[in-house]
Each structure stands twice: as structure tokens, then as C-alpha cells.
């Protein structure tokens, strides 16, 4: 959810912008796709730590820590989900012909109105698949969460980690129940998202 505005902004920028360093930015966004979660997690841990600049600022600002806290976990989620959110958005914006946007300006729509009333409705299917992918990925993410968030009851324990915990403790019964819940929840959520996108009326073509 925190990712949505960022993804829309960056997706649109990458789809239509033509600037120096575009490839570098694209590569950086795609990095989490190829890096092992532990590598990403390690760097995030280093970057978020109280000794680091970012971690220090955050501590000074809020009095809370980034590492092993929900806040840090959220930030980490945003980073490792970037490619999943941005790439579908970028494709969706790229699929809108340039002159549709220009036609909107010719109709007197400001750039923001054009984005809101024309571009975004057309990019909606892309936004939906971005949401679905991100959601699924967040639920399933394990490595990065464990590295950055640790495993703290009520703060950074995700279901995926809880299942791992239970299995380690030979509590297969609880692990089974939690797995089934996660499966069901994921199915329902993603199903809803796809259904919504289909009902939005405009199917992309």
C-alpha cells in the first residue's frame, strides 16, 4: 500500500521519461529480482542499523529503530517489492499511446487531470496486477524479512516465519493450519483483485 504512489510515479517516469541514468535506475529497481534475499537482507541490515546514517536519522527523528522493527520491515518490503510493483505499472503506462495523453491536453485537461482521468483509468489493469504481485510476494517473502526484521513476536513475525518456527519445533499441526490459512487468504485476495480488474469495464484493448 505504501508502495502504490511510488510505483505509479516511477512507472510513469520510466515509461515516458527519457533521461540520463534511466537504464541505471531500471537496473537498480530490477536488482531485487536477481539477488538472493539474504544478500539484499544483509545490505538492508547494514544500511538500517543504528550505526548507519539512515538508521541514525530515523532513530533521531522517531526514537525508534529500523532494524528488527515493524517500521524497518515495511521499508524493506517497499524496496524488495519495487520490481514487482513498478514493472507492471511501467508496461501499463507504455501501452497508452502518446497521442492519447496529448489529446487530453488539447481538451484542456491539465497534466494532473490527464493523469487522473485518462492515463490512470487506462493503466488500471497494470495497477491491479502490480498490486496482486506485490501482495503475493509480500506474503511469501521470507529471507529478507528474517534478516531485517528478525523474529520478534507481535512486531516482525510474519506468518511465513511463524510456519518455519513451528516446523522447526516439530509442531506440524499448527504449521499445517497456518499454511492452509495463508493459502486460502492468498487465493481469496488475488482472486478478488483479478475479479475487480475485470469488472472495471475497460479491458485494456
Amino acid at each position: 500500500m505504501a508502495l502504490a504512489p511510488l510505483a505509479i510515479f516511477l512507472g510513469r517516469l520510466l515509461a515516458w521519461g527519457d533521461f540520463r541514468g534511466k537504464s541505471l535506475l531500471e537496473a537498480m529497481i530490477a536488482l531485487p529480482l536477481v539477488l538472493p534475499p539474504t544478500v539484499l537482507g544483509f545490505y538492508l541490515l547494514e544500511g538500517f542499523g543504528a550505526a548507519s546514517t539512515l538508521g541514525g536519522w530515523y532513530h533521531a527523528l522517531t526514537g525508534r529503530q529500523l532494524v528488527f522493527s515493524f517500521d524497518g520491515l515495511l521499508l524493506a518490503s517497499v524496496i524488495f517489492n519495487l520490481p514487482f510493483a513498478i514493472q507492471p505499472m511501467q508496461r501499463a503506462f507504455e501501452a497508452i499511446p502518446h497521442n492519447i495523453r496529448e489529446a487530453a491536453w488539447c481538451c484542456g485537461l491539465s497534466r494532473f487531470e490527464a493523469l487522473w482521468r485518462v492515463e490512470f483509468p487506462l493503466a488500471w489493469p497494470g495497477a491491479v496486477s502490480a498490486l496482486a504481485l506485490t501482495f503475493a510476494h509480500t506474503l511469501g517473502e521470507f529471507g529478507v524479512v528474517l534478516m531485517v526484521g528478525g523474529n520478534i513476536e507481535g512486531e516482525t513475525k510474519t506468518i511465513a516465519i511463524a510456519i518455519y518456527d513451528r516446523v522447526q519445533a516439530f509442531d506440524n499441526y499448527t504449521a499445517g493450519i497456518m499454511s492452509a490459512m495463508l493459502l486460502l487468504f492468498s487465493m481469496v485476495a488475488i482472486g478478488c483483485v483479478y475479479r475487480l480488474s475485470r469488472r472495471s469495464g475497460y479491458d485494456g484493448r
Binding site: 499511446p97 497521442n99 492519447i100 496529448e102 489529446a103 487530453a104 491536453w105 488539447c106 481538451c107 484542456g108 485537461l109 491539465s110 487531470e113 482521468r117 485518462v118 483509468p121 487506462l122 469495464g201 475497460y202 484493448r205
Partner: protein
């Protein structure tokens, strides 16, 4: 220049080279004609403010839209133009009515739907308000695009090849509708087209554009009849373009004489080029009269030219003839006769044929270009 119109000069060296000077008056329909890649669409986009030229100016009435010296480059939104894109660029997620109301932001919300319906009636689309663009035919889409472009009561209506994406029957109908529509509005209209016939039919004036440069402007019939040079002649569709030398002028008989491929041609007096000058000349096929082959008759003394048929193409009810003129370098003199007449005269490749080139039809142009 009409005070209500638009006037502009665009100059730049790249990415598309431009050297354009153009005016469109109120109530005037001006066509911008040229081959693909000549920069027609670029000119429209500059007027719309979708891109800016290197230098020049764009002025609407006494208001400046573009003036780099004074740092003026008015936004597309504030130029209030109507733009019909080549592929119409309708908003695919909005129905016909919404495609028009979205351009009516200057009205009170309650009035928008009323006005949009009136506009759709005007372009003969009443009853299709709830259709999506994907459910419309090509001609209907063009009408929606036109209604949307008219919605803002634009300062200028820019039409980018608006008839190129529809079939011929629809095209004819849409062209008539445009001709009718413009009698009821004072909006200056700039029509971009590569179709000369279209420009001839619809435009009050046309500009010939070639590689980003406006070469000539004037009434369509005048530009066609009196092209400024061989290049313009070619661009407006002439094929009978030849070179000759001016022999002399005879003011008493009202004649100018030129030598073309060893023979003498006479034309109406034109003292612009001095004797001895190399010139180009052009003749429309309508001014080439074939002599009857079976029995020579009088009236064949006017610029008689002899040759043999090098090309013969039956094209519907007419036969297009390419005549290889005796002593010529192989370039063909082209004219057409009715198929009936071609049969009666037993025209066939290789047949010897004589024609008269009517003096009044010969137009001289300075060499070059």
C-alpha cells in the same frame, strides 16, 4: 491578414528541419499539402504547443503563443486549440458522450452534457452517446474526434489527415460534412493532407510543403495551374514537366516561343524569362489534344508534336497514353483519351501518333528547384 486568424513562422534545423511561414484567417480553410515526411504533422504539433520550434513565432490575433525572444511558450491547454489526430486518439475507456464532455471543462457541469449532445447532433452522431470508441465505425470515430475538437470553441481547428483512416465512400461523406460544417463556424481550419484532390475540393488556400519548407501558397487551382517551379509542379501531381530554351517574344502576336527537343513551341506571351534562358515548362494532360489518325483535319497546326505510343494503360473508361516524342530524350508526354477514342484510333504500343500542345496550357517556370 484577417485580425481573427493565426500567423506563424517556424524555423529549426533539427530533428525535423523547418522553414515555414503560414497564415490562416478566420473562416478560412487552409490545406497543408506535401508528401509523407515533409513535416506537415510537425507544423500542427507546433501550433498546438505539443512541441516547440527552434525559433520563429506563433501569434493568434494579437496574442503571442510562441516567442522565444520574450520567453513566451504558452501551454497546449491555454492555447485552446481543437486537434483531430490522424488515428483520432479517442479515450478508449470513455463513451462517446464522455469523450466530448471531458473537453467541456470551461462550462458549468450541468451544461456539459447538454452541449455535448448538441455537438454530437451536429456531427450526425445522435443516439450513439453510450457507445465506446471500440464499438464505433471508423467514420463515427472521426466524427466523435471532430465533435471533441469543436467542444472548446477552439481558436483554431487542426486536422491531421482526418480522412485517411476510412474507406472511400465514408471519406467522401465526411468531406462533404466538413465542407458543410465550415459554413456554420468562423474558426480557422488547418487541414494537413497528402491528398491533393482533397485539398482542391475543400481548401480556400493551400500551402505546398517539402522537407519542412513552405514552397508556395495560393488558391488550389492557381497553385496547380501556375506552380512556381518544377519541384512544386511535381509535388502537386504534374507529370509533364520538361526543359526548354526561350527563343524569343512576339508581343504583336502575343506569343512567346521556346525550343523543346529540337522543335518550336508557341505559348501565350510571357516576357519574364529573357531569350536564351533555360526554363522548365509544364502542361496538364487536358491541354494535350490527340489528332485523329484516320483523317487529318484542320486545327492541328497548334504546336503539333509527333511521336509513338510507348505506354498504353486502360484505366476504367479512360486510356492513359505515354507518348515518346520524336527526338526526345525518352521522357514521355502523358495525356489521356477516352477508351472509346483510343479504340477507334487503334492506339497500341508503337503506333505513330500526333498531338497538339495547346498554347494556353503551357506554363513556364524558372529553371531549378
Amino acid at each position: 491578414m484577417d485580425a481573427d486568424g493565426i500567423r506563424l513562422e517556424l524555423r529549426q534545423s533539427g530533428p525535423v528541419a523547418l522553414d515555414v511561414a503560414l497564415e490562416v484567417g478566420a473562416g478560412e480553410l487552409v490545406a497543408l499539402v506535401g508528401p509523407s515526411g515533409s513535416g506537415k504533422t510537425t507544423v500542427l504539433r507546433n501550433i498546438a504547443g505539443l512541441q516547440s520550434p527552434g525559433s520563429g513565432f506563433i501569434r493568434h490575433r494579437d496574442e503571442s503563443w510562441f516567442d522565444p525572444d520574450r520567453g513566451i511558450d504558452v501551454d497546449t491547454q491555454r492555447r485552446r486549440i481543437g486537434f483531430v489526430f490522424q488515428d483520432y486518439a479517442l479515450f478508449p475507456h470513455l463513451d462517446t458522450l464522455s469523450n466530448v464532455t471531458i473537453a467541456l471543462g470551461h462550462l458549468e457541469p450541468a451544461e456539459r452534457a447538454v452541449e455535448a449532445r448538441a455537438l454530437l447532433e451536429k456531427v450526425n452522431l445522435g443516439g450513439l452517446e453510450r457507445r465506446l470508441p471500440a464499438q464505433l465505425s471508423g467514420g463515427q470515430r472521426q466524427r466523435v474526434a471532430l465533435a471533441r475538437a469543436l467542444a472548446r470553441e477552439p481558436n483554431i481547428l487542426l486536422l491531421d489527415e482526418p480522412f485517411s483512416a476510412v474507406d472511400r465512400v465514408t471519406r467522401g461523406k465526411l468531406q462533404q460534412e466538413l465542407a458543410l460544417l465550415r459554413t456554420s463556424i468562423r474558426t480557422p481550419i488547418l487541414l494537413v493532407t497528402h491528398d491533393l484532390d482533397e485539398a482542391m475540393m475543400l481548401a480556400d488556400r493551400l500551402y505546398v510543403l517539402h522537407r519542412g519548407t513552405t514552397l508556395q501558397n495560393g488558391k488550389p487551382a492557381e497553385v496547380f495551374r501556375y506552380p512556381r517551379n518544377a519541384l512544386v509542379a511535381r509535388l502537386v501531381g504534374h507529370r509533364n514537366i520538361f526543359s526548354a530554351t526561350v527563343l524569343g517574344h512576339d508581343p504583336e502576336r502575343g506569343l512567346t516561343q521556346i525550343r523543346w527537343q529540337g522543335q518550336k513551341l508557341e505559348l501565350e506571351l510571357n516576357t519574364a524569362p529573357p531569350p536564351g534562358d533555360e526554363v522548365d515548362w509544364v502542361i496538364h494532360p487536358a491541354h494535350i489534344i490527340m489528332h485523329r489518325r484516320d483523317r487529318p483535319s484542320f486545327g492541328e497546326r497548334e504546336n503539333p508534336v509527333h511521336g509513338h505510343v510507348a505506354e498504353l494503360l486502360e484505366f476504367g473508361e479512360t486510356a492513359l497514353v505515354g507518348l515518346a516524342v520524336d527526338g526526345d530524350d525518352g521522357r514521355l508526354l502523358r495525356f489521356s483519351v477516352s477508351r472509346h477514342s483510343a479504340r477507334r484510333n487503334r492506339l497500341e504500343p508503337g503506333a505513330a501518333v500526333s498531338v497538339s500542345i495547346l498554347a494556353e496550357g503551357i506554363h513556364l517556370m524558372p529553371r531549378g528547384g
